[in-house]
């Protein structure tokens, strides 16, 4: 099995030059312009929070809510790490947008045959042995790309060797773990990071709990209904037989 790839974003290092978002827009053929939020033409953007710059993008969860929600399986977690999107399967139900806790999936509301747009961590470039365009464009290595284990190790090294870092990696536990993770010298809560409501549990566990009951419901419910049907039929048959007997008795009597 191939090793899982990840991106480490170091908020302390980011200088806010926006090279990542411009490159992203170039490789996707989108108009190159800074936007203040993720959109269908800005799959990553640099979010200014006070004096800090936070690059926002899809976090590529280990157990993604969007992929669990997608009824046709157009969204998938690949073995390599990226959460990919098969535009040929998508039917435009937009459930992924409801499911994603970060509001990452964006819709082409302006088009007549709209598709969902989100970062796929340059999956095709990765398959060809390259790295995501945004990482390549970063002039100060505020984003680095590599094997997940190696990057996690690197992140802890940086935190350990520099006491100005918050002693925590955003993405090791959040949403059950993500393949894009952040380290920062400012508290994540002050930088607009989403606090996971489900603790370190992936969100799909919430719907799995409900879906897991369905075989039981079908089996138990089905047999109960069949039993009720049998009882009500039996009651009718008995009543009918009794009626016939009384009729026969009356004739004889």
């Amino acid at each position: 099995m191939e090793k899982r790839k990840s991106i480490l974003i170091d908020i302390k290092k980011c200088i806010g030059c926006q090279s990542c978002e411009q490159t992203c827009q170039q490789v996707h053929g989108f108009p190159v312009e800074h936007q203040a939020h993720l959109s269908e033409t800005a799959l990553t953007f640099v979010d200014q929070k006070g004096e800090k710059f936070v690059r926002r993008m899809c976090l590529h969860c280990e157990d993604p809510a969007c992929a669990s929600a997608c009824l046709v399986g157009a969204l998938k977690k690949s073995a390599l790490g990226p959460v990919t999107y098969d535009a040929n399967k998508c039917m435009g139900c937009r459930y992924c947008m409801i499911a994603c806790p970060q509001g990452v999936p964006k819709y082409q509301w302006t088009k007549l045959a709209p598709l969902m747009k989100k970062c796929d961590m340059c999956y095709e470039r990765q398959v060809a042995g390259g790295q995501p365009a945004c990482v390549e464009a970063c002039p100060v290595q505020a984003s680095i790309f590599g094997d997940r284990e190696v990057l996690l190790h690197e992140a802890w090294e940086r935190i350990r060797s520099d006491s100005s870092y918050v002693p925590r990696i955003y993405g090791t536990e959040e949403f059950g773990g993500t393949d894009v993770f952040y380290i920062s010298d400012v508290a994540f809560e002050d930088l607009g990071f989403v606090k996971p409501v489900n603790g370190s549990q992936p969100l799909p566990t919430l719907s799995a709990a409900a879906l897991g009951e369905s075989p039981t419901v079908v089996l138990v419910g089905g047999s109960m209904l069949a039993a009720l049907y049998w009882i009500s039929q039996r009651k009718k048959d008995v009543a009918l037989a009794e009626l016939r007997e009384t009729e026969a008795d009356e004739k004889r009597g």
């Binding site: 959109s39 809510a65 669990s68 929600a69 997608c70 009824l71 046709v72 399986g73 157009a74 399967k89 998508c90 039917m91 435009g92 139900c93 937009r94 459930y95 947008m97 409801i98 499911a99 806790p101 509001g103 999936p105 964006k106 819709y107 509301w109 302006t110 088009k111 007549l112 045959a113 709209p114 598709l115 989403v194 996971p196 409501v197 489900n198 969100l203 799909p204 919430l206 719907s207 799995a208 709990a209 409900a210 879906l211 369905s214 419901v217 079908v218 419910g221 089905g222 209904l225 069949a226 009720l228 049907y229 009882i231 009500s232 039929q233 009651k235 009718k236």
Partner: protein, 393 residues
């Protein structure tokens, strides 16, 4: 053949219907040729809106009467409800038809509506919902089919089809009850994964149970409304005591729902938000008042239950409360968390209304031309008394 008295082409309701269809047609033009932004106020923060919240969630929920009555008559042996069976099935069938029609404009790529049949994702609640709705709509079509088949002028085919239908009917009903129970619950289950994007007053790990428990009384209320209107405006008869009896069952089901909802709110985090000074609190209490408090009070009064018009309005309150609940879960609760500030655009209303009006007209025609409800014996209008129609000759 019955001949209508006072035959008029232009009537009040026909003008209204025509206006709705005209608006709906223009809305469809906007949706399909001008796009989403011309026809909806949907955004990335509120991607579902009225079409899903009202068209799908309310459409499916208010069509729950069909499976409830079918289960009562066929599986539980409650023979006295048999006169309600046919109208309930027609109502549900048409309800689900509106939901399926709605998919054609609420999906981004409606020509791929068949995709869930071949691309499966068993982890998706929406996949289960779509499969159940597809299967159950087919079941409803099959349950509805004999009402049309028995009117066909081909005796041999008729006898053959009805014979086979009779043989598989119980299996259909049983499958229908299971499918309904599943997808009525799973419609609530859709929002489980969106924890954190659903305002705490409406989020619960038991959203599935809550949706199921509320759908059955709401389906009964909808059926009562429709039956009342049929008796009032069409030439049919129905024993009112049936509706009165059914309203007691509805009251009990609503009470069960109310208790479950209360327990759920007190166990989950919702209870801390009951009196917070926010607009959501008002929407919540409006919903609770309409769905639970007012109907339970009214249904406890025997003079309300025994008065057709009062019962009709009580059921209307239940249906409104039900709609408030579904819209709150799907729109208010999401808006509160994402700050979408969504207000539907008029074409969203117009398209929904057009589809519902279409269903209402088909229902009316079914009652008039098929044997859905027993017809009243009507004296022939005097003017036409000497005309012999070909059917009688």
């Amino acid at each position: 053949m019955t001949i209508e008295k006072n035959f008029k082409i232009v009537t009040f309701w026909r003008v209204i219907s025509a206006a709705i269809f005209l608006a709906g047609g223009y809305a469809a033009y906007l949706r399909f040729l001008k796009g989403w932004q011309a026809s909806t106020n949907l955004t990335d923060l509120q991607p579902w809106g009225l079409w899903v919240g009202f068209g799908t969630l309310c459409g499916v929920g208010l069509s729950a009467g069909g499976f409830a009555i079918a289960a009562a008559v066929y599986l539980l042996g409650m023979e006295r409800y048999r006169p309600l069976l046919r109208p309930a099935i027609v109502l549900s069938f048409l309800g689900y038809s509106t939901v399926c029609t709605g998919m054609l404009y609420e999906l981004g790529l409606p020509w791929r509506i068949w995709h869930p049949m071949i691309y499966w994702n068993g982890h998706s609640v929406l996949f289960d919902v779509s499969l159940c709705v597809m299967c159950y709509t087919s079941v409803l079509l099959l349950e509805f089919a004999p009402f049309a088949i028995e009117k066909l002028p081909y005796p041999k085919f008729r006898a053959w089809a009805l014979h086979w239908h009779h043989k598989v009917l119980i299996a259909l009903v049983l499958a229908g009850v299971l499918l309904s129970s599943m997808h009525q619950s799973y419609l609530g289950g859709l929002f489980l994964i969106a924890k954190g994007k659903v305002y705490p007053l409406w989020y619960s790990p038991y959203l599935t149970t809550l949706f199921y428990l509320s759908a059955i009384p709401a389906g009964i209320a909808m059926l009562t409304i429709v039956l009342y209107l049929c008796v009032r405006s069409l030439n049919v008869k129905l024993e009112f005591s049936l509706l009165e009896e059914m309203s007691r069952v509805m009251g009990m089901l609503l009470a069960v729902y109310a208790i479950f909802r209360m327990l759920d709110l007190s166990k989950g985090g919702g209870i801390h938000y009951l009196f917070v000074r926010r607009i959501e609190t008002a929407y919540f209490w409006l919903e609770i008042a309409l769905l639970v408090i007012i109907p339970l009070f009214l249904l406890s009064q025997s003079r309300v239950r025994n008065n057709p018009q009062a019962l009709y309005w009580t059921c209307a309150v239940v249906v409104m409360g039900f709609m408030a609940n579904r819209l709150n879960v799907s729109i208010t609760a999401i808006d509160a968390m994402t700050g979408a500030n969504y207000v539907p655009k008029w074409p969203e209303f117009a398209l929904t209304m057009a589809v519902l009006t279409g269903a209402a007209i088909v229902f009316r025609l079914s009652v008039i031309y098929l044997d859905i409800l027993p017809k009243k014996e009507e004296p022939k209008p005097l003017r036409w008394v000497n005309v012999t129609t070909p059917a009688e000759a």
